[in-house]
């Protein structure tokens, strides 16, 4: 059908012009205005980490430190065993990530490729459990860990994310990715005499690198930022992870010691932001994947 191009009215021509040119400026202005509440908290957090306590409360609010007080960062480590908290957070996040990668790639592959009775039922069960928030299942999990004398240890902080909701999402992502790998590659592997394990380990897993990277990003961040589990399972301050440690930087009346707290917060958030700045495409796409799971 030939397209009929109607002669445009003057009004439409003007609006088309605005659409073509003025619109861009408008969009930039709007984006800049909207981004202020997204950037300002970071800006304020990082700059205030360099201010003396009094300057943080200065009127009017200052965008840059008037006097730079680097001792804030030293105080962080003397106020609390912060280096230890940092180490706790790192080693727990690494173990959670490695564990999740192993378990989710194994089960994701089996659900995608191996025929066994009950597989779709099991997979449905896994997904439906995502409806129940972790805050709820943590109640019976707490009584379980209590019975096993595992409260006030890092074990619940490591195994619950691997096997709970975070691990289930990871398995789902792995399964989706494995489904997209051409089956002919596996058939060729079998013909070459590889076992199922050999096909998985030598052929499929190396091809699944993008999915493994996504699971690594999502799981590491999940563990690094995790707050509820350490809040509930850990009493001993030496065993704290960063999020609970940040919250406890207060004076004896429970008031925040802002200069120390903000320096500690900056030390917690900044490494993540720096990595994010370099790997933003990977990070954003990994999160977009979890959204599409529905």
């Amino acid at each position: 059908m030939p397209l009929q191009i109607e002669p445009k009215s003057r009004h439409e021509q003007v609006s088309l012009f605005i659409f073509k040119h003025g619109n861009k400026i408008l969009i930039y202005l709007l984006l800049i205005a909207l981004s202020i509440p997204f950037i300002f908290p970071f800006w304020w957090m990082i700059t205030s980490a360099f201010k003396p306590m009094n300057d943080i409360f200065a009127y009017p609010l200052t965008l840059l430190p008037q006097t730079v007080r680097l001792e804030n960062f030293a105080d962080v480590f003397t106020f609390q065993p912060f280096a230890r908290h940092y180490f706790n957070s790192i080693y727990i996040a690494v173990l959670v990530t490695v564990g999740t990668l192993i378990i989710s790639s194994l089960s994701g592959y089996a659900f995608a490729r191996i025929k066994f009775r009950g597989s779709s039922l099991m997979f449905m069960l896994l997904l439906s459990a995502l409806m129940m928030p972790v805050e709820v299942t943590i109640i019976p999990n707490f009584t379980l860990m209590q019975a096993l004398h595992l409260t006030d240890t890092h074990i619940p902080l490591i195994i619950l994310p691997i096997l709970g909701a975070n691990g289930i999402v990871a398995s789902f992502l792995m399964r989706q990715y494995f489904l997209g790998i051409p089956q002919e590659l596996e058939e060729a592997g079998f013909l070459d005499g590889l076992s199922r394990w050999g096909v998985f380990w030598r052929i499929v897993l190396p091809l699944a690198r993008p999915a493994l990277i996504s699971v690594t990003i999502l799981t590491f961040l999940y563990s690094w930022n995790s707050f509820l589990e350490p809040l509930i399972f850990i009493n001993n301050t030496d065993l704290y992870t960063l999020p609970v440690a940040l919250r406890s930087i207060t004076d004896e009346y429970g008031q925040s010691l802002w200069h120390i707290q903000l320096a500690a917060t900056t030390l917690t958030v900044l490494p993540v932001l720096v990595i994010y700045a370099f790997a933003q495409r990977h990070v954003v796409e990994s999160f977009a994947l979890t959204g599409s799971k529905g």
């Binding site: 397209l3 109607e6 439409e12 088309l16 659409f19 619109n23 969009i27 709007l30 984006l31 909207l34 981004s35 997204f38 950037i39 300002f40 970071f42 957090m45 009127y59 009017p60 609010l61 192993i102 378990i103 194994l106 089960s107 592959y109 089996a110 191996i114 025929k115 066994f116 459990a129 409806m131 129940m132 928030p133 805050e135 709820v136 299942t137 019976p140 009584t143 379980l144 096997l163 709970g164 013909l191 998985f200 961040l221 690094w224 930022n225 707050f227 509820l228 999020p243 940040l246 925040s256 917060t265 917690t268 958030v269 932001l273 994010y276 933003q280 954003v284 959204g291 599409s292 529905g294």
Partner: protein, 302 residues
Amino acid sequence: MQLTRPFRNMSLAQKDELTGYLFVAPQMIGFFLFVLGPILAIFLFSTQQRDLLSGVVKPIEFANFDYMLKQDRIFPKVLINSLTFTFWLVPLNITLALALGLMLTRKMRGMIFFRTLFFAPVITSTVAWAVVWRFLLQGDQGINQILASVGIDGPNWLREPDTAMFSVIITRVIKTVGLNMVIFMSAIQNLPREYEEAAEVDGASPWQILLRITLPQLAPTILVVMVITVIGSLQVFDHILLMTNGGPANATAVLIYYIWFQAFRVFDIGYASALAVVLFGIVLIATAIQWVLRGRFSYNEH
């Protein structure tokens, strides 16, 4: 799978099946122990009087639910709070996410930069986010200093019931809107362009294209994102604990906060479990709605 498989041998197929079970075993055992078991336990606990610290357990049938519906003054308030929270958070989040998604998918310079900015709060620790905003929302600091400079006397945002709920919602939207934004962005980028191009050639205005072509095409995505956001909004816990601790005067105590409060502050895990059963029911209804909507718009899924 009509092709001849390399192994038609029965015993090898059985061996493969065994491998399948072995591969899923760690996940499934963990699932039964730490996810499904606890979900079932919640239902059992809800019929018990159960103390977290002493471990004393007494079966009391439906007394927890009886107390919840007839005597507990906080329960209705908590339900209304959850409803209010969801009612405001979901449309604000989705409208902003959609607007940002539509702008950031334009072919213009710097859109990746802006996407990075708007997404940054999503990867940031909720504790860090709350530390900063609790300062900025104090009576005589941050936001109110900015407002004062234009002659507005701002309230003590987190200490007054009405503004506390408002503040918690807004700061939560800023924290998480990036997630829905990137979901919309990938949906928009996957839309067929022909219709929009044809409409443009036909002289449709940008608004007409947006309202008559782009948005209807996005409708299935919007609906699914909406239900995910509703379910997510019912599970917002750490943000509220850290920003307001449920206060002032329970003004921001939502259902999930109340469950945690009963379990880990009052140590009454029987009653907390009964409340959890209610939450489970609400989430189940939301999920059922999602399934119905998905069925209706299934043409867009693969």
